[in-house]
Assembly symmetry: C3
Homo-oligomer: 435 residues x 3
């Protein structure tokens, strides 16, 4: 087939799959806005539209260059060039200089289509952190962390792996970001929750755990459907190519494996929830879908779909156990993002060894390196933000809700809400640091 | 053009249009969750995420093989092979054996892309049943029925028609599933409603009908917009090809005819609702969109779009009359899925004779055969489930809501709801069997 | 590359990007339904599904022909042929006459794919008007205006520009409709608001302005995410081609510029809102996204993305100032559509001169001509509708809500709403004409 056709198809594929991934940001928003108490839902909306904006700009200004521009083979980071733009040949071609077409076509795809696809990934990483820390992180502090995460931390992990750096050279396998995206987001969220602490009243001094059910279940469900849809693009687009029959075959396999892993994730989580959480738990089922999707992300090109069913089911199970485990550890993860994204991400990165030929040592090294780097860096950044501007809303703001106090609005001003039960007096003591 | 380009485009088209159809599941969820009483909305969410998971797995395990693998010309079913996977040539190619590319390319499209497109169709069929039976079917019973519907019943209908079986051989025309998908779903729903019965209090002993308006109109509307969007993929993807100029022309015609049929469906239903239902009825208008979409599904490749306008308008009208008729027959269809999908499906399968050259006898035979088969089988399956595990929630659960009793949650726990009006005493008697 | 491949890719691109733009209608619906008082949300839903239906039919019957069929070079309008359909060569090809393929392929794309892409644009224009006039315009009056707008007014502006008419000949630059779509919608909305007037009580006789916050913030946010996603298709599809490397490069640039402009629009609007509106204003941030998207629409093919950042940021700022300005002028724009679409549209059409080589005189002439034509025509049409059938709901309907009075339903019938504060007596006087 013609090389120019290949160029168009590769570029278009990045844009198409990228649009689906961009749509995941709306999914995370609905999931989180429906999970929090109504009094915080507007701030959740603002956080999410803001994080998508910040991630796009930060990745434009520095992130992409660090991750993808001139990373030496086996290196640690790329360039710190400010801003990105189309190559000079592309610029000339776009402005009508047809003589440059051949030079452009040889590059395989439009450089900016690749940028778009990479950018929507970084936004997903930030969404994970947002979900975990909802209802007590300060808006400005969160935005500062997002800027650092998307400009520096994530791009460095990306440079090591997809950018051609040392982990990639070692042979670390991460097709669509089980480690690069989801574990990174999960570690950053975990670091954040250690600094910011649990919601007041979540964990009683007597060891009790306050149930904090979603305030808007249809919104949460819509969010999960959006994430499921977007994830098809997340994984399929990670083939990075649509210019040959092998690509078409592989991408089709990726789509069905992704869908099957999510489906078994739902069912496994639902079935287990009865025993682990004491009832058929809708939230466990929904999180199971996400964990299934994450679990298959490291190696979704499997030729035998039954493996995807198994990997997704285990992912759903891990997520359900993880939700329970976090409660035991008194770590307060609002939406269960850590079990779904970090639990699923670690499992998926290991599962590659079983189903898709990954090397156990290398996979473990990659998981460990990203864990150490992202967790420690994030902890430092959260700590610094905490010192400089504070990461935690005041008890007063937490009691009244962020919407009223930080934005001066209510999410549903016309609806009458039930008064919140008062917290027991001892729970009213600041629970900073969570445990 | 190069054969490999054709292969890529065909495969990609299945994936793209399939993603849109997958998105319809979210639409059906929003439509149904917004239609039911708030006290049942969470179970609706669980039902829908669950049905999508089950449908995917059931169709993977057996459904697809029954429908598409080795159906004899004029036969009744395909193979009962367990599980599906890429062809061996595809597997080799995906794993790097470029020598197999030619053999793969000759097959026209990646086999798993076709699977994905077919799978999202079967999920839509299950969604139809879900909508009709909301608010009184037991969750587990519904899931069992979905497994049978998507593993066996739908695949058999599919084998007769699209799989190359006897109805297809006869010349039965069903481009995108007016009969195969929508009538099948409608008949299965009708059988279910006869076994499960009406909601308590829906039909008074004095012949009165209790109004059951949607609890969340914006959610219903969002659902219909999603279904409208998804239906463009539903119909356009049913061309099954995007590898020539004729395909591009046909698919474009399909998209605009589909959109026009839906548009006239809305307006016809709205205009008629004033007379048939006594007011400009939003729900009739929204259902009119769906019925218009279904009506055109049997033959959307029309070269004269005015036909699509007419077919859609009649479809919208049928749906509005059908909503009234079902009430007269004391058949309780929560979301109006039977008028929209079965009414539109039968009409559309006949309209092919007027506008697109279908044979009246063959079309009638196909409509009738599917009606008899799906209705009787579904009735049997529902009856069996009823005997074994029960299909109907108890009066107690129905009064308190499925969310609180089956899941232990509320959809909107912070919002204060108006107390429900008490049912008259005679309506409190079990209305099992509906009439 | 093969000409037939180009034909397929061009046609498919219209359909794909068009589907994204169609999705914007759901976004506008959610944005508007979440912005109005709950008592009017169902009518908003009906208005939006209705406008999409009417726009599609009106544009099919006459609009497209006026805009695109046989516009003379430098002329003012095309033909008034009734209805459109595929070309005769396309019809023959779709029906199996392969001999016509060459003739079809030479036309570059399937004619109906172009129609679809153009149709979804006209629907967006109508959505803008809908948002501004919410909560006091009569449903039927609005539908009549939409029919005129989409059948005649918009198509004439389109004929002048994209159809090849006089403004296009002059060299007026409007890549994706900053003027053609967004300013047109904005002027039509402004004319409407002058005829229909402000909501009762919005502006007190003492100069006070009643705050009218959104009733459902997550719905508004979801709407903005949908619009953001759809706008990628809006701008990218306006390349009108995907058949060469230059197209792929250009479309990729368009996507990232569009995304960056929206991102900076959000941040600029949020940052400014603290000073202009007295607080970090979520609605300003969300509108800033839309205004950023509109601002870049006139020239999104920029090769240096930093320009997009700047143009979007200024667009976001203009929108925030515009929201304040309209309040000062006592013009009641429910959702801020005029600042976002008209403010962003005018700014964007001028910004083309700075960043993309537009001619200041020509751009000004185009902006002015469209302003005069659309505003005066719309004013006349609104005035005429007002005389014939009335455009304004009665004070009684306005107090009780359109849902209960016009549709006999409630959007959330089970939820208990807070009683509305009574309007001061002097505000109860009809505020017809707004000021």
């Amino acid at each position: 087939m013609a090389e120019e056709t290949q160029f168009i198809l590769n570029s278009f594929a990045f844009l198409f799959w990228g649009v689906l991934v961009m749509w995941m940001c709306a999914g995370f928003t609905m999931l989180e806005a429906g999970s929090v108490k109504t009094k915080n839902a507007s701030v959740v909306c603002l956080k999410n539209i803001g994080l998508y904006a910040i991630a796009g700009i930060a990745f434009y200004l520095v992130g992409y260059s660090i991750m993808h521009v001139g990373v030496e083979a086996g290196g640690w980071f790329g360039s710190f060039r400010f801003g990105i733009s189309a190559t000079s040949a592309e610029q000339a071609l776009a402005q009508g200089d047809a003589a440059r077409a051949a030079a452009v076509v040889r590059t395989g795809h439009a450089s900016m289509s690749h940028w778009f696809f990479q950018m929507v990934f970084v936004a997903s990483t930030a969404s994970i952190v947002s979900g975990t820390l909802a209802e007590r992180v300060r808006l400005q502090a969160f935005f500062v962390f997002v800027a650092v995460l998307t400009a520096v931390i994530y791009p460095l992990v990306g440079a090591w792996t997809w950018g051609g750096g040392w982990l990639g050279e070692l042979g670390f396998r991460d097709y669509a970001g089980a480690t690069v995206v989801h574990s990174t987001g999960g570690w950053a969220a975990l670091a954040g929750v250690l600094v910011v602490g649990a919601r007041r009243g979540k964990f009683g001094v007597d060891g009790s755990v306050l149930a904090t059910p979603p305030s808007n279940v249809p919104a949460v469900t819509l969010g999960v459907f959006i994430i499921w849809l977007g994830f098809l693009g997340f994984n399929a687009g990670s083939r990075l190519s649509l210019s040959g029959a092998a690509d078409a075959v592989a991408v089709s396999l990726v789509v069905i494996n992704t869908n099957l892993a999510s489906a078994t994730g739902v069912l496994a989580a639902l079935a287990l929830s009865r025993y682990v959480l004491g009832r058929v738990d809708l939230r466990a089922g929904l999180n199971g879908a996400i964990s299934g999707l994450v679990s298959i992300a490291a190696g979704p090109e499997l030729v035998v779909p039954m493996w995807a069913c198994l990997i997704g089911a285990v992912g759903g199970a891990i997520c359900t156990f993880g939700m329970r485990l976090l409660e035991r550890l008194r770590i307060d993860d609002e939406v269960g993002a850590i079990p779904a994204h970090l639990g699923g991400g670690v499992w998926g990165s290991l599962a590659v060894c079983i189903a898709a030929g990954g090397h156990p040592g290398v996979q473990t090294a990659g998981i460990g390196a990203v864990a150490i780097f992202v967790f420690s860096t994030s902890l430092g950044v959260w700590w610094l933000i905490d010192k400089v501007m504070g990461t935690r809303i005041s008890a007063h703001v937490e009691a009244l809700g962020q919407d009223a106090t930080e934005l001066g609005i209510e999410s549903f001003p016309e609806f009458i809400l039930a008064p919140e039960p008062e917290l027991p007096t001892d729970a009213a003591a600041p629970l900073r640091k969570g445990h």
